[in-house]
Amino acid sequence: MPQEAQKEKSMILQKEMINGLFDELEKAKETGKKVCYTFVPGNLSELIRTFDMLPVYPEINALQSAMRKKSGAYIKEAEKNAHSEDVCTYVKCDVGMMLKGNIGPTGQKIPEPDILLLSYTGCFTFMKWFETLKREYPNAEVIMLHTPYQENGEIRPEMTEYMVKQLREEAIPKMEKISGVKFDEEKLKKHLKLAKEAQDWITKIFETTKHRPSPIDAYFAGVYYIGPINIGFRGTQEAVDYYKELYSEIQERIDLGLGPITPEGEMKEEKYRLVVEGPPNWTSFREFWKIFYDMGAVIVASSYTKVGGVYDMGWRHDPERPLESLAEYCMNCYTNLNIPQRIDLLSKCIQDYHADGYVTNSIKSCNSFSAGQLGMMREIEDRLEIPVGFIESDLVDPRYFSYSNIKNRLESFFQMLEQRKIITATEEVV
């Protein structure tokens, strides 16, 4: 089965990349490489690489812990330590993991940070998170990189200027000091060029869902596809190779007229095409996905895959404007867009990818995503006259995933879609 073999190839590539990173992290003490904790939205991979540092992404560790069913215990550990039941579970999972020895998803110990690079993009909790980490790691250097919010749906020149100044006068000097590596703008430009290339490929990959049937699921599989570009490999040749490979595999599925691959094999019939807003639930990721593919629903676009960067509106890193484009990149991440921009972006996805429905997965932990989602949904429903569905879950708190509750709502939603489809079909006949 050639396509099976090829499917594995991109997955093997990804696995190699990630394992390689964790191996390097484990050996950081010996190799003398400096460790930089940072977040996915607004992650400055290219800059970190310019200083030969290794990135650690606490929220990725948290979601990995959830997928390995460890988050529940970590969260409880944090709650024993005065954390409220009602705050972000990524934070609590990370704190709990730290209290339990900081063993990462590969079973290897994650080294302590030399730098806490807080490019706080679109999420206040990141700020509180690093305030908490700073108290645990008093020797770590903190770089606070304030990303202005696109409150008016625009990037004004002074916003970019503000960020560039922070990069030039605070971030870069501190990174030089900690890493002992002199800032080399040419090196950064090279990484930015590769970043742009990876962005081109990933955009093409997510555009393949325009096909019928869609060859991929842009949410449940999409979260795997965004891995390399979001967790430290953007700006490397490896990432470009990975995306090229992935694209050719998907192209092959298109040529064969195949639908997306699910954990239980290929999806046979594409019945509904959906756009999803909000992160997935990680503790019951498989069960959650299954509800969709069992019903023949494929996600053709999702906002979550844009948290680490919005590339489908044409924006790319520009090696000729290195610091400016780092700044713009941060400001362009999905949760740094204002509500009207998010509505426009989702509406465009619904139209461009010919979606039949719009589903919000409202995440208790994440106010950056969730606060305002109900208003967004109403607006999208009114504007596009598209059926909308609403479910609630959490990122990594297993106590907040109610399978029957979610299934009940989604079933109703799918049956509503089915009715509407038949009606529309018959009306078209008339």
């Binding site: 509180k128 305030e131 700073k134 409150e151 950056s368 305002g372």
Partner: protein
């Protein structure tokens, strides 16, 4: 001079006038006047004042507004203040407001600004991104640009080009305002029985919805009253309240804490009105720079400001010490991320420092607080009955 009860009664009416009548009257006095609503926590009202507009604080509906429409916008795990603000706005309580400012507090308030924009509420909606970079030449400059952005919105409405003199004048008025408020706290530190915290709250909150000149006048009279030896001391401990800086507890809850045996000698209920500590330089060629510089150098700590350069637990500990307080009560609004995420930081530090504290959660519409009162009472008793060990910082 008016009697103290009369002043308080006046203030309590203003403070909880959810129809913002004083602003309506003020606007009607003269053609073309502009009213600008601002949400918690802090906003440099000086600049709005200098532009000839009236800044009006919007602190939610508390326990005085039934919320239905606002609830349609928010999931159950989001705090209550954005719902009641939506309800107020959709019920046209703020129909006479021209613009709205959302200072950066948290993701919920930030996104609320987007809902306002999307619903086209008001003639302008500005999310004010306070700098988290505290270098005057970087964060300070950006802050000035943000203020200029607000001034442009107001100018588009009333045509007023703000002058240096006007700004300096406004800075002076708000300096006076904060000075008088601090005087109240200063007096109460020693004589907390002279004015209850409930009354203090009414007096300060009233200042967010009336012109600053009027408020200064009230404050002067209140200060004069409490400089007299009025009231009788009671056997209560002294506490500092922390965490209730955005969504406000109901007045009943504020009262209940003192009734349960705690004189509140400092708090962050109306943090915005007290945010800048000490005067802003009222006599410079660049008043916006002076305001920015005050924000960077003289701000009170806040859960919404990145604090690593000046850790909040040490700052709160210092307040406790300076005020001679016996302990801290952490009062967080339910689902308030900034406040709740700070709790472990404070509590771990206070455990180490030996500062006594207790914590509870509330929501603005809670008007039954027997349980909280019992907890506070127990906290007070435990401190009264326990040793007289000094606080070590």
């Amino acid at each position: 001079m008016k009697a103290i009860r009369e002043l308080i009664a006046e203030c309590s009416t203003q403070a909880f006038d959810l129809h913002f009548t004083r602003a309506k009257e003020w606007k009607a006095e003269k053609e073309g006047r502009v009213v600008v609503g601002y949400m918690p926590i802090y906003f440099p009202r000086e600049i709005i004042h200098a532009a000839g507009a009236l800044p009006v604080g919007i602190f939610g509906g508390g326990d005085r507004k039934q919320v239905i429409k606002g609830d349609a916008y928010y999931q159950s795990y989001i705090c209550r203040i954005p719902r009641s603000i939506m309800e107020l706005v959709l019920d046209k309580h703020t129909a006479h407001f021209d613009g709205y400012i959302f200072p950066s507090i948290c993701d919920v308030i930030r996104n609320l600004s987007g809902i306002f924009k999307q619903q086209k509420i008001g003639k302008f909606v500005k999310y004010m991104d306070f700098p988290q970079n505290f270098l005057p030449e970087i964060g300070g400059v950006y802050y000035q640009q943000e203020m200029a952005h607000v001034l442009k919105y107001i100018k588009d409405l009333n045509g007023v080009e703000v002058t240096t003199d006007a700004l300096n004048h406004s800075i002076g008025l708000y300096n006076k305002n904060r000075e008088l408020i601090e005087l109240i706290y200063h007096i109460r530190q020693e004589f907390p029985w002279r004015l209850s915290i409930e009354d203090v709250y009414h007096v300060i909150r009233a200042g967010t919805v009336i012109p600053v000149e009027e408020h200064n006048d009230i404050l002067k009279q209140v200060c004069a009253h409490i400089q007299q030896d009025i009231g009788k001391p009671q056997d209560k401990i002294k506490v500092v309240i922390s965490g209730a800086f955005c969504e406000q507890p109901s007045i009943g809850l504020i009262r209940a804490i003192e009734e349960a045996g705690c004189y509140v000698v400092d708090d962050d209920y109306m943090l915005g009105s007290r945010m800048i500590m000490g005067p802003v330089d009222p006599d410079t060629d660049n008043p916006l720079e002076a305001i920015a510089s005050a924000y960077i150098r003289q701000s009170q700590y806040s859960s919404s400001i990145y604090d690593v350069h000046d850790p909040k637990e040490l700052r709160l500990a210092k307040i406790v010490k300076d005020r001679g307080a016996d302990g801290v009560i952490f009062a967080s609004a339910s689902f308030c991320d900034p406040s709740l995420l700070d709790a472990p930081i404070f509590q771990n530090a206070f455990d180490r420092m030996g500062i006594r504290y207790m914590a509870f959660q509330f929501s603005e519409n809670i008007n039954q607080f027997k349980v909280i009162k019992e907890q506070v009472g127990a906290f007070s008793d435990s401190i009264k009955l326990w040793d007289e060990e000094p606080i070590v910082i």
